[in-house]
C-alpha cells in the first residue's frame, strides 16, 4: 500500500466499512423476475471472455423526480441486474447528480439534457471523474409551449407573432396587461428568456416558476379552466401524451444567435438537443460489462414517452413499468447486452 500516513487502523476500519457498503443494496425483489426471464436466453448464449468480471459493489443509479427518468432508471437497473450486477437506486437532485458521479457516490446518469443539465455536466467533465457514455437516439426539444386547446383560443399559433398578437389572452393579475409566459426557474435560462422577449419586442412578461411542479400545476389549472397559457416545456415529456400541444415557432436558431453568445437574440432554442449518458470514470474498470451495456443503451423519444405513460397514465409502479417495458422489448435489450 502506498499509504504514507500513521493512521493505519483508521483506514483499515474504513476499508472494512467499504466492504460492508459494497455488498449492500436494497432492490425490488418481485419485479426483477420478469426481466430475468426475458433476458435469460441472451445470457446463456453470450459470453464476453475478454472482460474481467463486474465488481460486486452496487451500481448506484439516481432517480430524479419525473416519471420517465425513474422508469428508465429501473429499466437500466434491471438490465444490469440481469447481467449479474447489484444495483442501488438513490433519489438525487438532477443538478447535483454530476458532482455526485464525480465523487463516485453515484455511478451513472442516463438523462443528461443538453440545455438544462449541459452546463452542470460540462463543468463536471472539466473537473474530471466523469465520462461521457454516449448519446441516446432521442432528440430533445425545449421551448415555449402551449397545450393543444390553446391553438383554438389564439389563431395563427404556433407562430410567435400570432402569439404576440393575442398577448392579452395570456394576461394575469400581475402581468400588467401584457401576456404572461411562465418560464422554468430563473437559474435554468432566465436571462435568455428576458433577452429574447426584449429583442423581439414582444408584448409579454416572463414569470419564473420555482420548480417543474409549478409549471405542471399551472398547466393543469389552465387546462381545467380552458384558459390560455404558454409555459416552458420540453419533449419528450409526459405532457405530450396528457395534453398534446405544440412548441411556439420562433425565428430559427443559428449558432451564436443568442445574446449571451454575441448575437441579436432574435431566435428560438436549438431545434434538437442531445440527450446524453454519463458515468463515473471508474465504471469501465469496475463494471466492464455493465459499462459496455450502458454505452449501448439508447432510447428513442417514443420509448421514453411510453415509459412515462405506463406510470402516469396506466398507473403502474416504476418497477413494474420497467419490467413490462423490458418484456415488451426483449430483442432490443438483448442486442444491448450482447454486443
Amino acid at each position: 500500500m502506498p499509504a504514507t500516513y500513521g493512521i493505519t487502523d483508521f483506514i483499515l476500519s474504513n476499508l472494512l466499512m467499504k466492504n460492508i457498503l459494497e455488498n449492500m443494496n436494497i432492490m425490488n425483489k418481485v419485479t426483477t423476475m420478469a426481466a430475468t426471464a426475458a433476458l435469460s436466453m441472451a445470457m446463456v448464449t453470450v459470453s464476453v471472455p475478454t472482460l474481467a468480471a463486474d465488481s460486486s459493489e452496487p451500481i448506484v443509479i439516481p432517480t430524479h423526480n419525473w416519471s420517465s427518468q425513474i422508469v428508465m432508471a429501473h429499466v437500466i437497473g434491471q438490465i444490469f441486474e440481469s447481467i449479474g450486477d447489484i444495483v442501488n437506486y438513490t433519489p438525487s437532485d438532477s443538478q447535483t447528480v454530476y458532482e455526485s458521479i464525480r465523487q463516485g457516490d453515484i455511478t451513472i446518469s442516463h438523462e443528461v439534457w443538453e440545455s438544462t443539465f449541459g452546463a452542470s455536466f460540462k463543468a463536471a467533465l472539466d473537473k474530471g471523474g466523469i465520462l461521457d457514455a454516449g448519446t441516446h437516439v432521442a432528440k430533445t426539444r425545449e421551448e415555449w409551449w402551449y397545450p393543444a386547446y390553446v391553438a383554438e383560443l389564439c389563431p395563427g399559433l404556433p407562430d410567435w407573432k400570432a402569439l404576440d398578437a393575442c398577448a392579452d389572452k395570456f394576461a394575469t393579475a400581475d402581468s400588467g396587461g401584457k401576456g404572461r409566459y411562465l418560464d422554468g426557474p430563473m437559474d435554468w435560462h432566465g436571462q435568455e428568456t428576458l433577452d429574447r422577449i426584449d429583442a423581439l419586442g414582444m408584448n409579454f412578461v416572463a414569470k419564473f416558476a420555482g420548480s417543474a411542479s409549478a409549471l405542471w400545476a399551472e398547466l393543469e389549472s389552465a387546462n381545467a379552466a380552458g384558459r390560455a397559457t404558454v409555459v416552458f416545456n420540453w419533449s419528450p415529456n409526459f405532457t405530450d401524451a396528457v395534453y398534446g400541444g405544440d412548441f411556439v415557432k420562433f425565428p430559427d436558431w443559428s449558432e451564436g444567435c443568442k445574446k449571451s453568445e454575441g448575437g441579436d437574440g432574435k431566435c428560438g432554442s436549438p431545434p434538437a438537443g442531445w440527450l446524453k449518458k454519463a458515468a463515473h470514470d471508474q465504471m469501465p474498470v469496475k463494471w466492464p460489462h455493465a459499462y459496455k451495456t450502458f454505452t449501448n443503451i439508447s432510447f428513442t423519444a417514443a420509448q421514453i414517452g411510453a415509459m412515462a405513460a405506463m406510470v402516469d397514465i396506466d398507473g403502474l409502479s416504476a418497477e413494474d413499468a420497467a419490467a413490462k417495458w423490458i418484456g415488451d422489448n426483449a430483442k432490443l435489450v438483448a442486442s444491448w447486452t450482447n454486443s
Binding site: 502506498p2 499509504a3 504514507t4 500516513y5 493512521i7 483506514i11 476500519s13 474504513n14 476499508l15 467499504k18 466492504n19 460492508i20 459494497e22 455488498n23 449492500m24 443494496n25 436494497i26 432492490m27 425483489k29 465488481s55 439516481p62 423526480n65 416519471s67 425513474i70 442501488n88 438513490t90 433519489p91 437532485d93 438532477s94 443538478q95 447535483t96 458532482e99 455526485s100 465523487q103 457516490d105 453515484i106 452542470s120 463536471a124 394575469t172 393579475a173 400581475d174 426557474p185 414569470k207 419564473f208 416558476a209 420555482g210 420548480s211 411542479s213 409549478a214 405542471w216 400545476a217 393543469e220 389549472s221 381545467a224 379552466a225 384558459r227 409526459f238 471508474q282 474498470v285 469496475k286
Partner: protein
C-alpha cells in the same frame, strides 16, 4: 407637550417614524432604481451610477436633502467575499487537508482522498448500514446482515429473508401499544398501520420508518450528550448557544449541498441533514431540563451512594425527563418534517414519493402520503411517550407465559400471518398480495376524488380567485414590496434599531443592528428585503388569523381540543402538499406563496393563543367577574394582557415558520433569498453561497426573535410570571 411627556414610548416611536419618513424622502431619485430588485448593484457594476461618494461630496448631498449612494445601498465590501471564503474553506477541508491515497482492494487503482472525507463517508456508511438493517428486517432482504456478519453463504445460496407481512407488523403495533398503555394506545398504533398498508404505502412508509428509527435515536443521543456536556461545561454551553440559535433558523436547503459534499447522497445523507435539523431542540431541552432538577434530588442521589455515573444516568437525567421527553417529541416531529426535504439528497420513502407524486400532479396521492407521515409521527410520539412512562411490577411472581404474553402473542400473529401470506397466494394471487405487502398501485386510494375536488374548485371559483388575486397583487402586495425595496438602507437601520432601542435599550438596538448589518452588507440586500416583505405580510396575516381563531376556540373546551389536533396535524403534514393546489387556484405569484406560508405560519400563533388564554389563573378571572367586567372587557383587560407574553412566544414561532415557508415558497416562484438558496442546490460548488444566504435568513429570524424575547421577558417580569 404634557401629553407627549406622559407617553415617552409613543414619543420615541413618533420620532423614529419621523426620521424614517425623512430618510425615505431623501432617497429621491434612487426610488426608481431600488424598487427594481438587483438593479442598483447592476448599475454600480456597469459604472452607470456611483456606488459611493467621498466625504465632502456626501456632505454636500446631505445638505441638499439627498442621500449619498452608500446610504441607499451598502457598496461592495468584505462580506461579498464571504461565500467564496466559506466555499474554499469547506472544499479545502474535504479535498486538500490531510491528503491520503487509498488503493481499491480489487482493482488496484489509486484514489486520492483526505482523512476528513474518508471519515465522513465512513460515518455515513455506518448510518446507512443501520438504516438498511432495519429496512431489510421489515421489507425483506439479506444483503446487510450478510455483509456485516460476513455470511458469504447467503449470497452463494441466494437465501432470502422475506418481508414481514403487514398484518404481522400491524398486530405487533397493536400489542406494543396495548402492553405500554392499554387499548386506547393499541388502537392508536394499529389503525394508522392498517391505513398505511391498505392505501398501498407500505414500502415507502417502512422505508421512512427505518430512516426515522435511525435518525431520531441518533439525534436524541447526540442531543442528550451535547446537552449534558453543555450543562457540565460552561464553555461548551457558551459555544453551543449561538450555534443552536443559527441552526434552528437556518433554512434546510442552505446546508443540503455541504451535506452532500461531506457525506455523499442517499439515505445516509438525508439522515445526517435530518439529524442536523432535529438535534438542536433536544440539546436545548436537555440543558433546560438538567438545570431545573432540584438540588435536593441530586443530594438524595448522592446520599443513596451513587457514583458520579450513577448520579448522572439514574438520577439527574431521569429526573429531567419531562423536558427531555418534550425534546424527544420535538425530534420525532422534526425528523418527519424533514422527510420531504431529505429526499432532495437521496432519502427514499414517503417524502420522495410525495415529491414525485406532486411532480406528476397527483395531489390526492401526495396528500395520502403526507397523511402517512403525520400518522407515523403521531404513533411514534405516543409510543415513545408511553414507553418512557411505563411502570414495572416487580413483585408479581408471574409464570413465563404470562410475563411474556405479549411477545408470545406477537410470535403467534407473526406465524399466522406468514402462514396466511404463504397459503393464500395459492388460492388467489390478488388476496395473497393483500395479506402480504400491498403494492403501491393496488392499494385503496382517494386520489381521484381529491383531484376532482381541486379541479372542480378551479373551474367553479377561478374567476373569484382572479378578482381576489388582482386586488391583492395590484393594491396590496406589489405596493408593499415596492415600499420595502424603496427604503434606503439608513432608513431601514433607523427603523429597526430604533424599535430595538425602544424594546431593550442600547443593547437590543446594537444586537438587531448587528444582524441587519450582515445582511445589508451582503450582495443580497434587495432579495432579503423581498423576503422581509413576504415574511412581514405573512406574519401580520397569520397573527390576525391566529389570534382570532385562538380567542374564539379558547372559550370552548371541545373547540380547543379539535383545534389543537388540527395544529398538530398541519405542523407535521409536509407543506409541499399544499403548494400545488395553491398554485392551481391562485397561479404562480406572490399570492400563492403567501397563502401557503400563512397556512403553515398560523399554526403556532393559534396554538400559543389558546394555551395562553387557557392558562390564565382562574382566580384572576373570578376576581374580574366579581368586579363586574363584561365578557369583552374580561378578554381585553384581563385575559389578553396576562396571556400576551405566552402569545408573543407563539408569534415568535410564527416568524420562524413563516421564514422557513417563504424559502420553500421558492418552489412556486419567488424573487427572494429563497430562490437564490434553491439556485445553489443545482451548483455543487455553491456551498458558500448557500450557507451565507442561509445566514441572512437566520439573522432576520434571530433579530425578530431577540426583540420578541426581550419584550416578552420584560413583560413577564412586570406581570410577575417570569
Amino acid at each position: 407637550m404634557r401629553h407627549l411627556a406622559q407617553h415617552p414610548k409613543l414619543t420615541q416611536f413618533g420620532l423614529i417614524l419621523l426620521a424614517f419618513a425623512i430618510l425615505m424622502y431623501m432617497a429621491g431619485d434612487y426610488y426608481d432604481i431600488i424598487t427594481h430588485s438587483g438593479t442598483f448593484n447592476k448599475l454600480v457594476a456597469s459604472g452607470e451610477i456611483a456606488g459611493a461618494t467621498g466625504f465632502f461630496e456626501s456632505l454636500r448631498l446631505l445638505l441638499n436633502g439627498t442621500l449619498p449612494p452608500q446610504f441607499v445601498r451598502i457598496p461592495e465590501n468584505i462580506v461579498w467575499g464571504l461565500p467564496e471564503l466559506i466555499n474554499s474553506s469547506l472544499l479545502y477541508l474535504v479535498e486538500d487537508l490531510w491528503k491520503i491515497t487509498t488503493v481499491d482492494p480489487v482493482y488496484g487503482f489509486e484514489k486520492n482522498t483526505t482523512v476528513i472525507k474518508e471519515f465522513t463517508r465512513g460515518l455515513a456508511g455506518i448510518i446507512l448500514v443501520m438504516i438498511n438493517f432495519i429496512r431489510e428486517f421489515i421489507l425483506g432482504g439479506t444483503k446487510t446482515i450478510a455483509s456485516v456478519m460476513g455470511w458469504d453463504f447467503i449470497r452463494d445460496t441466494k437465501a432470502s429473508w422475506p418481508a414481514l407481512p403487514w398484518p404481522a407488523v400491524a398486530g405487533g403495533a397493536f400489542l406494543l401499544g396495548y402492553s405500554l398503555n392499554g387499548m386506547k394506545l393499541a388502537l392508536l398504533a394499529f389503525i394508522p398501520t392498517v391505513y398505511i398498508a391498505i392505501f398501498g404505502q407500505w414500502i415507502p412508509a417502512m422505508e421512512t420508518l427505518s430512516f426515522i428509527l435511525v435518525a431520531a435515536p441518533v439525534s436524541v443521543i447526540i442531543g442528550l450528550s451535547l446537552g449534558v456536556l453543555a450543562y457540565k461545561v460552561r464553555t461548551v454551553e457558551l459555544f453551543l448557544t449561538p450555534l443552536l440559535n443559527v441552526a434552528q433558523t437556518l433554512p434546510h436547503f442552505s446546508y443540503l449541498v455541504p451535506v452532500v459534499t461531506f457525506y455523499g447522497v442517499g439515505d445516509q445523507a438525508g439522515a445526517i441533514a435530518t439529524i442536523i435539523f432535529a438535534t438542536p431542540p433536544m440539546i436545548r431541552l436537555t440543558i433546560l431540563g438538567l438545570k431545573q432538577v432540584p438540588p435536593e434530588t441530586l443530594e438524595a442521589g448522592m446520599m443513596s451512594g451513587c457514583s458520579k455515573r450513577q448520579l448522572l444516568f439514574k438520577v439527574h437525567i431521569p429526573t429531567a425527563r419531562q423536558d427531555m421527553l418534550l425534546g424527544v417529541n420535538q425530534v420525532i416531529m422534526q425528523c418527519l418534517a424533514m422527510a420531504v426535504i431529505a429526499s432532495f439528497i437521496g432519502a427514499t420513502g414517503l417524502g420522495y414519493d410525495l415529491v414525485v407524486a406532486l411532480n406528476s400532479l397527483r395531489i390526492g396521492v401526495a396528500l395520502e402520503l403526507g397523511i402517512s407521515i403525520v400518522l407515523i409521527a403521531i404513533v411514534l410520539d405516543k409510543l415513545s411517550l408511553a414507553w418512557a412512562n411505563k411502570s414495572v411490577d416487580y413483585l408479581a411472581e408471574l409464570p413465563f407465559h404470562v410475563r411474556h404474553k405479549h411477545s408470545l402473542m406477537f410470535l403467534a400473529i407473526l406465524a399466522l400471518s406468514i402462514i396466511v401470506a404463504t397459503v393464500v397466494p395459492h388460492i388467489s394471487e390478488f388476496w395473497g398480495q393483500m395479506f402480504y405487502l400491498i403494492p403501491e398501485n393496488q392499494g385503496f386510494s382517494t386520489d381521484v376524488w381529491w383531484d376532482k375536488l381541486v379541479k372542480w374548485v378551479v373551474v367553479e371559483f377561478r374567476s373569484y380567485f382572479q378578482i381576489f388575486n388582482t386586488f391583492m397583487l395590484v393594491s396590496v402586495l406589489i405596493p408593499m414590496r415596492d415600499a420595502f425595496l424603496a427604503m434606503p438602507v439608513v432608513a431601514t437601520f433607523t427603523l429597526v434599531m430604533g424599535v430595538g432601542y425602544m424594546v431593550g435599550g442600547i443593547k437590543s438596538s446594537l444586537v438587531v443592528g448587528g444582524f441587519l448589518l450582515f445582511i445589508a452588507a451582503s450582495q443580497w440586500w434587495d432579495e432579503a428585503l423581498i423576503t422581509m416583505y413576504m415574511t412581514t405580510f405573512a406574519v401580520v396575516a397569520s397573527v390576525i388569523i391566529g389570534l382570532t381563531v385562538g380567542v374564539l376556540a379558547a372559550r370552548n373546551t371541545t373547540a380547543t381540543k379539535i383545534l389543537l389536533i388540527i395544529c398538530d396535524t398541519f405542523q407535521t403534514l409536509p407543506s409541499f402538499v399544499y403548494l400545488i393546489p395553491v398554485i392551481m387556484l391562485f397561479g404562480v405569484n406572490d399570492v400563492s406563496v403567501l397563502i401557503a406560508v400563512i397556512m403553515y405560519a398560523v399554526i403556532p400563533c393559534t396554538r400559543y393563543t389558546i394555551e395562553g388564554l387557557r392558562n390564565v389563573p382562574p382566580s384572576i378571572l373570578d376576581a374580574g367577574d366579581m368586579s363586574g367586567v363584561t365578557k369583552w372587557q374580561r378578554l381585553i383587560k384581563i385575559e389578553m394582557p396576562l396571556a400576551f407574553p405566552h402569545i408573543m412566544l407563539g408569534i415568535n414561532q410564527t416568524v420562524v415558520f413563516a421564514l422557513f415557508m417563504v424559502i420553500i415558497g421558492a418552489f412556486i416562484g419567488t424573487e427572494d433569498l429563497g430562490r437564490l438558496i434553491m439556485g445553489t442546490l443545482s451548483k455543487a460548488n455553491a456551498m458558500g453561497n448557500g450557507l451565507t444566504l442561509g445566514l441572512c435568513v437566520a439573522f432576520i429570524g434571530l433579530a425578530i426573535d431577540h426583540l420578541i424575547h426581550t419584550w416578552a421577558d420584560k413583560r413577564k417580569k412586570i406581570l410577575g410570571i417570569a
